[in-house]
């Protein structure tokens, strides 16, 4: 008797727990951190880690353009920008100031993958939409994270190059600085394809900063040591430009090479008539983060992680990119075109 009543009460408890969970998940249909108490027009905080590099300036340009568009729609009234000058501690203090001044959304490129976690949790608890892109933080206390996949970058680059040299031959691999996660992840991504083709021999690998001059210097010395090179797997745009210049200065024939959307490399590609392939970390990730923040604040559900497919530049569409070159700085990046339709599709696809 007691047993069965116990069982009955236990099952009733289970049922009520299940019901409340169901109700809870319904109430959570809005995106993470969103409480629904914030009304348009919103104030957006853009917590930049370092504003000086050209990539960052162009990214900020897309954010400002997006904010202008959203202003016209009456959704945003103010953009607040901070620059931590590379210091993760300053970035934390600036995010704290954004919380104190009660912004409605924070978009950020993190200066450390761990340090901002606690201040972001505070922001999330206050119902501020947080969209983290490019350099991500190891925390789930954000509305959404947005990025491309560095491993996929390496994989696709390796596959293109192996195909371009006919599945066998001698190649160089050009990496960014050692110990930097983007550089390591791209290189790791290339491993599987290289292992699957034992007839592709890696002559040498370099680690240089993502700048033309050091890459050119490194490749020049490798050219002296290796009279026969069939292809170059470069995992950064400035590195590719350096390699092409090195081959050119030595009077060597250009070989198939991979790269990135750096304007200088794309122009060399056309000028030298290369067979090449390039991808990019699109600057419009900034605009997309802004758009996503506003969508979340408007009560739309947004996925916790938005993986951006890598836009590809190859010999079939290089001309379209170069046709727009004049709109971009000489040392900048020619990113793929974007519009609201693309953003909607990216959010729906996940």
């Amino acid at each position: 008797m007691t047993k069965s009543s116990l069982f009955a009460s236990a099952s009733a408890l289970c049922l009520s727990v299940l019901l409340s969970l169901g109700a809870g998940s319904q109430a959570n249909a809005a995106a993470k951190c969103i409480k629904g108490d914030r009304k348009a027009p919103y104030t957006i905080g853009w917590a930049n880690i370092y504003s000086v590099p050209t990539w960052m300036k162009q990214t900020q340009g897309t954010i400002e353009a997006e904010v202008e568009t959203l202003k016209k729609q009456g959704l945003v009234d103010k953009l607040v920008v901070t620059d931590a000058q590379g210091d993760a501690n300053v970035q934390i203090q600036q995010i704290q100031s954004m919380i104190d001044s009660d912004v409605d959304a924070i978009i950020l490129i993190a200066g450390s993958s761990t340090a901002p976690a606690r201040v972001l949790a505070d922001a999330c608890a206050k119902g501020i939409a947080i969209i983290n892109f490019d350099s991500l933080v190891d925390t789930d206390q954000v509305t959404a994270k947005v990025n491309t996949d560095s491993a996929q970058w390496g994989d696709q680059a390796a596959k293109f190059l192996i195909d371009a040299i006919g599945g066998k031959g001698k190649i160089l691999i050009l990496n960014g600085p050692a110990g930097v996660s983007v550089s390591d992840d791209r290189r790791k991504g290339a491993d599987a394809a290289l292992k699957a083709h034992p007839e592709v021999t890696v002559l040498a690998e370099t680690n240089t900063p993502y700048n033309v001059a050091p890459a050119q210097e490194a490749v020049t010395s490798l050219l002296f040591a290796n009279p026969e090179i069939d292809g170059i797997l470069s995992l950064g745009g400035a590195l590719s430009a350096g390699a092409v210049l090195a081959l050119d200065k030595q009077g060597r024939e250009q070989v198939p090479i991979t790269g990135e959307n750096a304007r200088q490399f794309l122009e060399l590609w056309k000028e030298k008539g290369l067979k090449s392939w390039a991808t990019m970390q699109p600057n419009w990730l900034g605009a997309f983060a802004t758009y996503t923040a506003v969508q979340a604040l408007e009560g739309k559900d947004v996925p916790a992680f938005v993986k951006i497919p890598l836009p590809v530049i190859d010999n079939s569409n290089i001309d379209q990119y170069l046709a727009r070159a004049a709109d971009f700085p000489a040392d900048g990046y020619i990113y793929s075109p974007y519009d609201e339709e693309l953003f909607k599709k990216l959010l729906a696809e996940q």
């Binding site: 930049n48 504003s51 607040v80 920008v81 901070t82 620059d83 000058q85 590379g86 210091d87 993760a88 501690n89 300053v90 934390i92 203090q93 600036q94 704290q96 100031s97 954004m98 104190d100 001044s101 450390s112 993958s113 761990t114 340090a115 901002p116 976690a117 606690r118 190891d138 110990g179 996660s181």
Partner: protein, 321 residues
């Protein structure tokens, strides 16, 4: 019975002496006060317990490294390894405190590392008579490398309760800072503390007068190391994790805070209160300029102008006199 009680005489002199020591930094104090008032005006939440707590937490690690640098500069030394020491303290705390050592063991490891490396640096600089700038520059590579060996990528963890205690919504950081300043006052009353200024201003004269110059300088390096790794522990608690390069910017900021606070490069010149005010100004500037809505480019310019202004005001006075 007409003998004057010496302790009463000293007591009567204490405050006038302290006031006179403020002369060089009065301008800075005025600027800091103006910024504090402006901050409170722009962000009234500063006057709430949690607002005050969060503000002092962003200042606290900079205050510690400013003190760490000031002690060394008072003895005529300098350290370019401040940032690396902060990083090392942070990664040791983040890798030990959730392990078998626990919080007490982790704190002990952080303390021993700080004092140990500091004392060793001091010993090399003082006993081998090598330039501090070279020894600490080399030291910064070794210490920074050690931090990367302990924790190659950002990670580790700090117990949640410790993070909440030190960097939650209570002004624990401010209380700690007050305690540290009181300890500094006590230290200045000990023989080693008394020797600090003498060893910096005129080491030869001090040595001939029987002051333990070498001991005072080595002790200063040890205390400086402890303050740095302590700041690292706090940063780890504040962020809930360790990052092997989190401290990098503290090296230059510690020097900026000390110089802003009137500490001379040649030793024996300046006061700790000046260095603390300097660090407070650097920290305040970031928040105040945010609330004033300055763009990042304007912030770069304003930051430079404020620093030059704060340093120049007392100089104008001197020139006029």
């Amino acid at each position: 019975m007409s003998v004057v009680d010496p302790s009463r005489q000293a007591g009567a002199l204490y405050w006038p002496v302290q006031l006179r020591r403020n002369v060089g930094v009065r301008g800075l104090f005025a600027v800091v006060m103006a910024f504090l008032v402006a901050y409170g005006f722009l962000f009234p939440g500063l006057l709430t317990a949690s607002g005050f707590a969060k503000f002092t937490q962003s200042w606290f690690p900079l205050a510690l490294v400013a003190m760490a640098q000031a002690i060394l500069m008072l003895t005529g030394g300098i350290s370019l390894a401040i940032g690396a020491m902060v990083s090392l303290g942070a990664v040791i705390a983040a890798t030990t405190m959730t392990g078998p050592l626990g919080v007490a063991g982790g704190a002990a490891a952080v303390t021993l590392t700080g004092v140990g490396i500091g004392a060793a640096t001091g010993f090399i600089v003082v006993k081998l008579r090598l330039p501090a700038i070279v020894v600490t520059l080399a030291g910064s590579f070794i210490i920074g490398g050690a931090a990367l060996l302990i924790l190659p990528r950002p990670g580790g963890a700090i117990p949640e309760w410790l993070s909440d205690l030190l960097a939650g919504n209570t002004p624990a950081a401010f209380v700690l800072l007050v305690l540290i300043v009181l300890l500094w006052k006590l230290y200045l009353a000990t023989p080693l503390g008394l020797s600090l200024y003498a060893a910096g201003e005129n080491p030869v004269g001090a040595y001939r007068s029987g002051v333990p110059v070498d001991g005072a300088r080595i002790a200063a390096y040890a205390i400086s190391g402890l303050l740095c790794t302590g700041a690292g522990l706090f940063v780890a608690a504040q962020t809930g994790s360790g990052d092997p390069v989190i401290g990098t910017a503290f090296t230059l900021n510690s020097i900026a805070a000390a110089v802003l606070g009137g500490i001379g490069f040649l030793g024996g010149q300046g006061t700790m209160r000046g260095a603390l005010a300097g660090s407070l100004l650097l920290s305040l500037m970031i928040s105040v300029m945010f609330f004033l809505g300055f763009t990042p480019v304007a912030q770069y310019v304003a930051q430079g102008l404020i620093i030059i202004g704060a340093v120049a005001i007392p100089q104008f006075r001197k020139v006029q006199q």
